[in-house]
C-alpha cells in the first residue's frame, strides 16, 4: 500500500525517536543513529526521513527549547504516534516471523 511502506532507514529513525523519548530532534537523532549503527549519517537524510514519516502519520512534532549553541533557534521535537508505534511493532513482528521461518540447519550448516 502506497504511503505506509517503511524503508530500513526510516525504520531506524522511528526506533531512534523512540529511544530518545523526549529529546528527539534532528541532530540528536543523527548522533544516536551514528552511535547505534556506527555508520556515517548525514543530517539532511535524517530530516528528510523525519519529514516523510510525519507526512505518513508515524510521527508528530512540536517546537521545543532553544539554546545558545543553536543561535536561539528552537528544536523541533518528534514523538511516535500510535500508528508509528504500531508500524514499528509490525516491522519487528515481520522480522521475527521470517526469522523463525528460516530452518535451523541454515544457521548450523557452515558452508
Amino acid at each position: 500500500m502506497k504511503g505506509t511502506y517503511l524503508g530500513e532507514f526510516e525504520e531506524l529513525v522511528l526506533l531512534t525517536v523512540g529511544i530518545l523519548h523526549d529529546d528527539a530532534y534532528g541532530l540528536g537523532i543523527t548522533d544516536e543513529l551514528e552511535k547505534q549503527t556506527k555508520r556515517n549519517v548525514t543530517i539532511s537524510s535524517v530530516h528528510k526521513a523525519l519529514v516523510r514519516l510525519e507526512e505518513k502519520g508515524f510521527l508528530k512534532s512540536g517546537m521545543g527549547g532553544a539554546t545558545d549553541a543553536r543561535g536561539g533557534r528552537k528544536k523541533r521535537l518528534y514523538e511516535l504516534t500510535a500508528s508509528g508505534k504500531k508500524q514499528v511493532n509490525e516491522a519487528k513482528e515481520l522480522r521475527n516471523n521470517m526469522w523463525n521461518a528460516v530452518p535451523k540447519v541454515v544457521w548450523q550448516g557452515g558452508n
Partner: protein
Amino acid sequence: MNSRPPKWAMRFFRWYCRKDLADAIEGDLLELYQRRLQKYGKRKSDSLFLWNVIIFCQPFAFKPENSRTQNSSIMLKNHFKIAFRLMRRQRSLAFTNIFGLAIGITASLFLLLYVSYELSFDSFHKDAGRIYAVNAISFNPEGNFYRQSAPSPLTDLMASDFPEVEAATRITSTRFPDNLIKANNKEFFESFVAMGDEGFFDVFSFDLIAGNPETALNEPGKVIMTRKTAMKYFGTIDIIGKTVNYENSFELQVTGVLEDIPSNSTLQFSFIISNRTQGLLYKNWITHWGSSNARIFVKVREGFNPRLTGEKFPEIVEQYIRDDLDKGEEYVLSLQQITDIHLNPHVAPERKSASSNKKYTYILPIVGFFILLIAGFNYVNLTTARMSERLKEVGVRKVVGSTRQGLRAQFLVESITTVMIALLLSIGLLILLMNPFNELTGKGIELSELLNVDFLTTALLIVVTLGLASGLYPALVLSKIRPINALKQGFSNFSGGKTNLRGALLIIQFAVAFIMITATMVINQQMNYLQETPLGFDKEQVIYFRQADRNFWRGADALKAELQKNPRIEAVAFSSGIPGNPGFGSTAKLDDGARELEIRHIMLDKEYIDLYKFEVIEGRSFDYDLATDKSAAYLINETAVRQIGWDEPLGETLELWGKKGQVIGVLKDFHFESMKNPIGPMAFHISESNYRVVSMKLGTDEIAETIQFIEGQWATMMPDRPFQFQFLDARFEDYYREEQRFSGIMDIATTLGLVLAISGLFSLTAFLINKRAKEISIRKVLGASYASVMRLFLNKMIWIGLVATIVAIPLAYTMLNQWLGGFAYHIDMSIINFAIVTVIMMLIIIFTVGAQVTRSVGKNPVDNLRHE
C-alpha cells in the same frame, strides 16, 4: 573568533527552505557548526556548513509552490508549452532557427572534436605525463641542423646513472624505408618496421595481447607485430613461435602480438624487431656513441625536475660525444614530453612545414567559433524580428500579472528550448557525418571520443552559453516594455530594440563572412600554386618502385634490356633515390677538406637525367663513355654553387663518401621535394652499387598492359621480390594531402558560414520591410519610384557591408600573411582578392535585399493599407 557560518550560505538556505522546517533545521545546523568549530576550526567548519546547506537542497525541504511568490514550476511548464506552440505556428521560422543553429553547433563540434583529437596524441600512455623523448640537436657553424635521434648507448646510461629515470628504451629505424617481409608464403614491403628493446613495455602502454613483455624483445632474432599485421600475414593472432623472414637474409621468431596502435599515437609500427638483431643484420650500433640513430624515450619518476636532468646532459656530451663531433660543431641534448611531440615535432629547420598539424589545430577552432557566431547572431536577429509580433502577448501577460522576471524566464526558456532541439539534431548529424568527416580530415576519430568528459563539458558549455546569449537580448528588451505602449500601439511603432545592436551584429557577421571567403580564396590559390608550379623536372607518367636488396644492381642491366624491348616504356633508370624522397644527406668536403657542406646526393645511371628532364645549364651532363665520369664526376645544383660560393664551378673538386671528383656541370635548381621546403644543395653522381629504385617513363596509352608487362618481366628476372609500384605524381600529391584536407574543410566551413549569413540577412530584411510595409505602400501611392524605395533599404545595408569590409581587410590580411609565411614558396596576396570579395559581398547584399524589396513593392498597396 567569528563563530558564525557565512551569512550568504544562511541566506541561501532561508531562500529555498520551507518556513515551517527552516528554524529547526537551521538550529540543528548551527549546533553542528559549533561542535565542528571546536574540532576543525573555522575554515573547515564553514565549508562543511556550506556542504550541509547544499545537500539539504532537496525537494522535501523546498518551499511549497503556493507559498512562493510565483508558481514557477507550473509557469515553467507553461513556458515550454508556449515555446512549442510558437514553433508549431511559425514552422518556417522555427525551422530556419533550429536548422541554422544545428548547422552552427555541428560544425563547431566537429572542429572541436578535431582539435581535441589533435591534442590527445600519445596521451593514452598510462604515465604520459612522465614519458619524455630525448632530442639531440647538432649545430654546425653554418646554422643549426636538427636530429631527433640520439646515440644508442645513452639509453643504458640514463637507465643506470640517472636516478630520476625509472625506465628507458630506444627505438631504432631499420636501414631502409621499405623492408621486405616474408611470412606464411606472403610477402610485402613494410614501411613501419622498427627495432626496440625490452624496455619498450616499461615505458609505453602499448598492449601486448600475446607473448611476454619481459622477454618479447630481449634477444636477437625476435619480432612482435600488430594484430592487423598478424591477420594480414597469418589470418590469426595465434602465431607465437612462427617465423618471419626479413629482407631474404634473416629468420625472425614471433614472440608477441601487439594490439593495433591507436591512430593518435605518433609512434606507428607494424613490426618491432628486437634491437639486438642489429648486430646480425648489419653493424651493431647499440654500444656505439658515434652515431645518432636511436630515438630514446625515458619514463621518469614522480616529482622529477626536467631542468636538473637537463643539466647533466652537457657533461655527457663532453664525455662521450665530443670526440665524434666536427670542428665548430655543437651538440645539445634535451627532453621533450611525449604528448608534445605531435604538435611540435621539431623537424630540421629547412623542413619547417613538414608538420602542418599545429597550424591547423589553432586555425580550425577559430573557424568553428566564426560559424557559431554567425549562427548565434542569426538567431538573435531572427528573434528580435519576431519580437514585434509578440508585443501584444507581452502586454496582455503584463496586464494579467506577469512580472519582468517571469517574462525574462519565458524568453530564455524559449531560446534554450530552441538551442536544445538544435543540439539534439546536431548530435544526430554528428553521428551521421562522422565517417565522411574522418575521410575529409584523414583522421581516425571514433564515436566513443564523443563521450570524453572534456569534450562533453565544452559542448554543453557552448550550448548553454549560446542559448543564454541569444535569448538574453530579446528577454531583456521585451520584458522592459510598458504594457500600455505594447497594447496601444502594437506592431508598427516598435523597432525591435536598439537598431545599433543589430547593426553591430550584422557588421560582425559580414566581417566574419568576409574573412572566411578571403581565406578560402587565398588558401585555394596557394594550393594551386604549390601543385601547378613547374618543379623543374618531369614527373608525369613516371612509375617507380623500390627494392632494398643490396645485390640488385648486379642484375640491373639485364632487367633494363628486357624492359626496354617494350616500345611503350620510353625510358628506364636506376638510382639511389627519386624526386620526392630526400635521398642521402651527407657532408661534402670542399677545398681538400678545408670546408664542409651538408648536401643531399643521388647516385644514378645514364638514363636518369634524361628521364626526369633535369636541365644542365652550365657544363655538360654525364658521359658514360668516359671512365672518369663514372668514377670521379659530379653535377651540382645552382643552390650548391651559391652556398659554396664558387664563381667558376666547373672543374672544382668535391669529395663525398670518400669519392673525390670534379664538377662537370651545373643543374638548374629544381624542387626535389615538395614546394613546402626550400631548395637545398644537391649533387648527382654515378655509383652502380647503390641503385635502389627503378624509375620508368611510360607512354600515354595502354598503361595497364604496360604495367602487366613490367610485372611479368619482374617476376621472371627477380622471382623472390614482390612488385609494388607507385606513380610519382601521386607521391607528390601526398605531400600536399594535409593542405588539401585543410582547404577542403575550409571550403565546407566557408560555404556553411556564407549560407548562414545570407539566410540571416534574408530574414532580417524581410522583417525590416514587413515592419515598414505601410510606409512603402503610402510612398508608392504618393508616387515613389521603385528605385527610391530600394535606396531606402539598400543604403543602410551597403553602409554596414562597407564598414564590415573595412574592419575585415586588415584582419584577413594579417591572418593570411601569417599562414602563407609557413610556406617556403608562396603566392603574394593580391589586393584583387579583397576587391573581388568586396564585390561578392555587395552583390549578395544587393540581391538579398533587392529580392525582398521587389516582392514588397510588387504588392498591391491596398492590401497593406486596408486593415488598421
